[in-house]
């Protein structure tokens, strides 16, 4: 399984690297939504740890050198002798080495365990952070009303407007004053996130990142996907609107950013 996962990770890395490089050139001509969908499908691909190899694949990654022999016994089970370069060389080993031998786990099993522990740790880390955040904001929630069926709360503990809640989504507003016009833009933006189920999109990215926690390109992919998600959300809000509206929309973002010192949200 690990070898299959590595191939998926490596081959996807090529595509991620290519997409990140291309991204610089296509920003102005293509909608962020296209990239948003692209990252989504790539994340799903990353979560399927099976590779579909061609029967005569031109590239072969060599496994550790291994010689297998079967003892010619008339009865009883087959005795398989594995000479595995990962498990120690037959040559150059002293008697003392041999005496100090500690039974070792086959490498693939060990790697699988390390991989599973890393994946679980990263995924749980994000879930726990999310859960702690929900616990922390709960005491300061004041109901302000709702926007197209989506509950809106004021919360003094948050700096920026946001949407949270996988099963009971809600919009959180900071204490900072926003004009009705600005609030409209904020609501429209968060409502697009809600309609597209972007929290689930982010969860999917988190899962893909956790499964491929050893691959730095997947971290870059998640960061870019998160960015493209925001851009495509902005595109949806400003679609068909004139430059004046777009300026006011930008100013609203700028205003909330200024209030928080331009820190923005968390990235993986």
């Amino acid at each position: 399984m690990i070898s299959s996962l590595l191939i998926v990770s490596l081959s996807s890395s090529l595509v991620i690297a290519l997409a990140l490089v291309l991204n610089r050139f296509i920003d102005k001509r293509y909608m962020a939504r296209g990239k948003y969908i692209f990252w989504l499908v790539l994340a799903v691909r990353l979560l399927i740890p099976f590779n579909f190899s061609l029967p005569a694949a031109p590239v072969k990654i060599a496994a550790p050198e291994r010689t297998v022999a079967v003892a010619p016994s008339e009865s009883g089970p087959p005795v398989t002798v594995i000479r595995d370069s990962e498990l120690g060389s037959p040559r150059g080993m002293t008697v003392a080495d041999s005496a100090a031998y500690v039974p070792i786990m086959p490498l693939e099993r060990l790697l699988t365990l390390i991989w599973a522990a890393g994946a679980a740790l990263l995924f749980m880390y994000q879930l726990v952070k999310y859960w702690l955040f929900r616990l922390a904001v709960r005491p300061c929630l004041t109901r302000e009303g709702e926007y197209r069926g989506l509950p809106v709360y004021r919360c003094g503990a948050v700096e920026s407007p946001m949407m949270t809640g996988f099963f009971r989504p809600m919009i959180l507003l900071p204490e900072a004053e926003l004009t009705p016009g600005e609030l409209d833009m904020v609501f429209a933006h968060e409502y697009v996130h809600f309609r597209r189920r972007d929290l689930w999109y982010k969860l999917l990215l988190t899962a893909a990142n956790a499964v491929h926690w050893f691959n730095p390109l997947v971290y870059l992919m998640v960061r870019q996907a998160n960015r493209d998600m925001e851009y495509s959300c902005d595109d949806a809000v400003t679609r068909g609107r004139d430059l004046d509206f777009r300026k006011r929309y930008s100013m609203t973002i700028l205003k909330t950013m200024k209030q928080i010192g331009g820190k923005g949200g968390d990235t993986l």
Binding site: M31, L42, M93, N226
Partner: protein, 315 residues
Amino acid sequence: MKKYIKPPFLTTSFTESGKSAKKRFANILNTGARRLGAWLIAAALTGAVAVGAMVVFDGGAPAEAEERTAAKEPSAADTDMGAALGRALLEDEDKYAETELWTEGHLILKAEATEFSADRSVKYQVYALTKVGGYSFINGKFVEDSGTGAIPVTAIMTGRDGEYTVDDVIYPSDGSYYEPSIKAMFPEELWERAMNADEFYDELVAQSRAQAEEYLRSIGRQAEVVSYSDLDVRFPDIGAEASNAVLYMKKDPELNRYPDYIGTVEYLEGGERFVYETQWQPLTHTLSYIKYRWEDGEIVASRSYTVNGGKVIKN
């Protein structure tokens, strides 16, 4: 200054752009017509799958190929490995000195050589199903009255010049850890057999019984070899209260050697065989404990008690 909670990744923050805010504004202010780029998405994704398909992990196949050309080592390893494993299994049981004979059964599923040393010694991981069984003479039969079911184990062995010694025997964990521990101990191809070790129980018992029969021959004794569940034992009908009193009496280690059931058990003491017998006379309500030498029947110790209701009175 007021302290705010930093939103986690799994929220959508309105200002989520960080250092790329400039680009975000450029994107918002871009009023030009833009395309979705469906062909680009399709091409990139086809690429993702295609690139993967071009790569194959060149691993398992050579092993199978060379298997047919079979090399010669190690010679007759299964027999010696089995004997070494058997010895190791029984070493753990020696502490139960009162059991007359410990036997074992094993089925080696697979043995892998994992390490080769310059001194020609080879380390093996041996995957096996095992059981041990302790036999005693009960009511004149040779009875397996203690032991285990079928247990999958991984033994670590060292082999040199056709001799095998066991360095360690690894047993699976209990309860809910059983399955994960089996999966950690065994290669995947053996999981099913290891998990269903009980299916091989009869075969393991047969090996164990063969050793018991061999032992009987070696001491020149004829007796039926059975398991405890096949034995028909009766207990003195003395009621719960008196049974508790007997149990209390049996804190005396000498008395504790007599069986709870009506009948006999044999122990080897100082090279001699003694029979410990418990008798129950329902008419006189007498519970008797008699110890005699097996060789000549000479009684070496005896005591009797009268059971009166819940009381047990020494005669």
